[in-house]
Amino acid sequence: MSALPNVEEYVICPYDSAHRILPVRLTYHLTRCAKNFPSAKLVRCPYNSTHLHSVANMQNHIIECPNRSAAERFNLPDVLPPVEPRAREFLIESAEDWDAEPPVQTYNPAAHCEKELIIRNLQGAPPAARRAFRESERRRFREKNQF
């Protein structure tokens, strides 16, 4: 067992200092809390998306961000001595050529759900929006069932 019951390793939410969250759940919390504060212009650090700072502070933060080492490692990798001449590369000829065909639009499941009587729920939205969605769905079903 790692933590004693008294040690609280909570992190304070950058959007609202009254929120204390477990570090494991921080990313989920940030996704939801961000919707409540649309005016707070906080930017995400490119090395760790839980680091949020204002645009001005971001420059300073990037210099001292602890996750930066992971990215730097990719810029200066360890390299093997040059490998011996590889076997000749090949080109596979194929009977079909899908590149020549016109691009197709992707399938949008929402269209099917709108038309038919599909029961669904709105995930990830705040409770008020969910209530409104439920009401509108009920109305739609009632109208459809009139036929």
Binding site: P77, I92, A95
Partner: protein
């Protein structure tokens, strides 16, 4: 419009009936427009036949399958389009594919007839004083059933068809009093919460509860969320286990109807209680205390009275069931407590108690006291390592749990019959106006055309239903091989002769495949300690070999781990580890050894950037990426995520692989974007330009995390990729498809009561309406029933139709070089899994970046 009649079974035909109306609805302008666009786009390729065929399709009516594929009818010789069932005018996108040979499959779903049209009222029930046991709560409610009418109660929430009028000045609509067994008065307070309508997603909760109630009527017992049948239990006496068959059910909204998914599950129940283990320890050893402690420490136990599991952390020999502990009502002994609350009598008053420490969740909830459990009431669960290693036990279990398709179908039908014939369950279902269909849902499916496997010298092999091409290697050479001119073999001195014989065999096997392997440098080591191996590897690497073969005397996790750490992290070189048992088996004919040698040669070739076989790929500039996560065995909080990417497979057989470590719960987005950037960089260095299209397969995502993955990972990844592409001059951004692959699903389907052939794809009726998904069976199994894989496309702007995506995914399952057959998930996902597993189990740190272009982890 003349449309051909619907063939085959009409049940569950998906959108069969409605489609006619939709097909006619004002699509003519769209039709004309997209056709024109198509003609312009392909005008350059100057295929007169193509243009002519497309025009013909536009004018003539609908007998032709109007999809992109069809106009080039003469080229698509091998595509069999047999019955033309429905026509979808161009311009209406759908997730159904069109190619392949059509068949009908039975699934393990039942239709819920008569969509319920009720309104149910939801109430919350509180008991004062609190009653803990759900059964007791339900018994109390049962006493008042005449007042409630038809109701479903799961212990806290009450769903009722009656609406109780609100009472003045009280938040509660109803207050009842009932007497408990001990004679005290228990007040039941019922509060109105809301109502559930036909359009609410919450009615599935109600439906599932109703189904649970009906299943209880069949005398099934609830064990941790699923129902099992104790009467049909199978006793494995000599292993002290029982296998209880049972069902895993769920009612959900599928593509068009509400369907019930029923899957056969088996529960392994050990007949030992901890008390038996204790008696055995006392009997066998003098020092029974340490023996008992060693036996039960860390075990997960199940207490029957409340159906909860606990982990054993300690044994307290000082306390007994007569010891007292503190509750709100004063001190009470364990014996009295269990008698009062659960009506259980404890027989042995001198047994020690077992301690379970609270988990972090419990600590935060407020209970931080360890729990004391009576050994007599605790049942051992799970399987010990000794049991897992006992192959006779596993075989006996396998006979009962691995069901052939016809037996599985028979069991499902039996389940349905029981539900329909038992009096209590039919009563419950009828009172709620729900009826289950009595036959399994049958749906149309397609078998994708067999893929061609390309070997060396332009030799082609068309895959058959066995989906296995191992025997082809006896007569063909590999697609692209790398001659091994300089390599080392490290072997214990005592086994030099056997190793040399095996190496000879490998050289012979390679020469039948026209690959040259020179004689290696042998490095004999005196003993097989880890340190000696490490030193030998260091010495060998100094001579700069292409690959190092290491011979181990027997299967040993620690030694393997040490060898792999050396060759993957410290001194990066591809390595092949073989054990003596495999390369020098006793009393085996040499023919068996030849096939082993062939497989080893194929694996070594793949590790050196050769390609044992290739597949026909009709797209240019496609990069396939696979991602999987594996949890570290040594440190529970760490996990390793591995990403494997191919280069353009039409021109090169190189790969890019990388592993990153992250803590439990940490977001993966930035790691993934970073890794993808490096993959793109490698691609550009190799081919000179960025990939045209990227196909991303993501494994390791459960249903609960789906929303999170979609919104954070994909958004972030797409943003990053678009940025890169725009800065490279491609203004439309990146063309990417993000597909989530799941293996742990409950849906199964069968063709004629047998396993479906590899390549069977299902994309209607049992898929979910809010997703763009399909099921694909890509592997061939010899025992039991095959389990399909679910592919869920959550983001797609590649411009390919659903049909092509399905074919591409199927093609990708043929490219796993460690197995000369198809595998369950696309090859890149399987590579990522193997790499993550290797790092999590053996290496435990990031491998050297020098090996990232090779498949060194096979």
């Amino acid at each position: 419009m003349n449309l051909p009649p619907n063939p085959g079974t009409a049940r569950g035909r998906g959108r069969g009936s409605k489609r006619n109306e939709e097909a006619n609805r004002g699509l003519a302008p769209q039709l004309g427009q997209s056709q024109l666009a198509g003609i312009e786009a392909s005008g350059g390729s100057g295929d007169a036949q193509l243009v002519h065929a497309m025009q013909k399709a536009k004018l003539s009516d609908v007998q032709v399958q109007v999809s992109e594929g069809d106009p080039r009818g003469s080229v698509r010789g091998r595509r069999l389009i047999t019955d033309v069932v429905h026509s979808r005018p161009q311009g209406m996108t759908t997730k159904n594919g069109v190619s392949g040979h059509r068949i009908t499959v039975q699934t393990n779903y039942f239709k819920v007839l008569k969509r319920p049209n009720w309104t149910i009222y939801q109430y919350r029930v509180d008991f004062t004083p609190d009653v803990d046991n759900t059964r007791l709560r339900r018994a109390f409610m049962h006493e008042h059933r005449s007042l409630l009418g038809g109701y479903i109660f799961d212990g806290t929430i009450l769903f009722c068809t009656n609406q109780f009028k609100p009472v003045q000045n009280s938040p509660y609509v109803l207050e009842l009093v009932t007497k408990s067994r001990a004679g005290e008065n228990i007040e039941i307070k019922i509060k109105a919460v809301g109502s559930v309508d036909t359009a609410d997603a919450q009615q599935f909760q109600v439906l599932n509860l109703i189904l649970r109630r009906a299943m209880e009527g069949l005398n099934l017992q609830l064990v941790s969320r699923n129902f099992f049948d104790p009467q049909a239990k199978i006793n494995l006496e000599n292993f002290r286990m029982q296998i209880w068959p049972g069902y895993q059910t769920s009612i959900r909204q599928h593509e068009n109807d509400i369907l019930l998914c029923a899957e056969i599950a088996h529960k392994v129940m050990r007949t030992d209680t901890l008390y038996n283990i204790l008696s055995e320890a006392i009997r066998d050893n003098d020092d029974y205390q340490t023996a008992f402690k060693r036996a039960v420490m860390g075990m997960v136990i199940l207490t029957d009275y409340n159906n909860k599991t606990y982990r054993v952390d300690d044994v307290d020999f000082q306390s007994t069931p007569l010891s007292k502990f503190n509750t709100k009502e004063g001190d009470i002994s364990y014996v009295d407590y269990y008698k009062k609350r659960y009506n259980i009598t404890i027989r042995d008053f001198k047994q020690p108690l077992v301690l379970s420490r609270p988990t972090e969740k419990n600590i935060r909830g407020g209970n931080d006291q360890p729990l004391m459990i009576i050994p007599e009431l605790a049942r051992a669960t799970g399987m010990t390592d000794a049991m897992r290693a006992d192959f006779r036990l596993m075989k006996a279990m396998g006979e009962h749990t691995r069901l052939a398709p016809d037996r599985r179908i028979e069991r499902l039908r039996m389940f349905n019959r029981r539900l329909k014939s038992s009096k209590e369950s039919t009563e419950t279902m009828k009172s709620w106006n729900i009826e289950l269909d009595s036959a399994l849902v049958e749906i149309p499916a397609r078998v994708l055309p067999s893929e061609k496997i390309l070997f060396g010298n332009n030799k082609k092999f068309i895959c058959d239903v066995r989906a296995d091409w191992t025997s082809e290697f006896r007569s063909s050479s590999m697609w692209k091989h790398v001659d091994i001119n300089r390599w080392c073999v490290i072997t214990p001195g005592r086994n030099l002769r056997e190793t040399q014989e095996f190496v000879q065999m490998c050289i012979r096997a390679a020469s039948t495949m026209r690959m040259n392997i020179a004689k290696p440098i042998y490095d004999e080591i005196r003993d097989d300690r880890n340190g000696t191996y490490s030193q030998a590897i260091d010495n060998a690497v100094a001579k700069d070999p292409q690959i190092v073969m290491v011979v181990m005397r027997s299967q040993n996790e620690e030694k393997y781990s040490c060898i792999k750490k050396r060759t993957c992290v410290d001194r990066p070189v591809p390595s092949q580890v073989v054990t003596l048992r495999v390369i020098a088996p006793r009393q085996e004919k040499s023919a068996g050894l030849m096939s082993i040698a062939t497989k080893v040669v194929i694996q070594m070739n793949a590790k050196l950037m050769g390609a044992p076989w290739m597949i026909d790929l009709p797209l240019r500039g496609l990069m396939t990426v696979g991602f999987d996560v594996c949890h570290s065995s040594k440190d529970k909080n760490k996990s390793y995520g591995a990403l494997v990417a191919t280069m353009d497979q039409r021109e090169s057989s190189r790969y890019f692989s990388t592993v990153t470590e992250h803590m439990k719960g940490q977001e993966l987005s930035e790691h993934m974007s970073l890794n993808m950037t490096c993959a793109l960089k490698t691609y550009r260095e190799h081919h000179g330009s960025l990939p045209e299209r990227i196909l991303f397969f993501r494994d390791g995502v459960g249903d609960g995390q789906l929303y999170q993955v979609v919104n954070t990972e994909v958004k972030f990844l797409k943003g990053k990729l678009d940025e890169i592409y725009k800065s490279a001059g491609k203004t439309e951004g990146c063309r990417m498809a993000y597909i989530i692959v799941s293996k742990r699903i409950n849906s199964r389907y069968f063709a004629n009561s047998r396993n479906p052939v590899p390549g069977t794809v299902v994309d209607d009726v049992i898929t979910l309406p809010e997703r763009y998904d399909f099921f694909l069976v890509s592997q061939a199994v010899r025992q039991g029933t095959v389990s399909p894989t679910s592919y869920n496309v959550i983001c797609d702007n590649m411009g390919l139709s659903a049909d092509k995506l399905q074919i591409l995914s199927y093609k990708m399952t043929h490219m796993y070089y460690n197995f000369s057959g198809t595998v369950r998930v696309p090859a890149v996902c399987q590579y990522a899994h193997k790499l993550a597993f290797l790092v999590a189990e053996s290496i435990n740190r990031q491998p050297s970046a020098g090996l990232e272009n090779q498949l060194y982890f096979l």
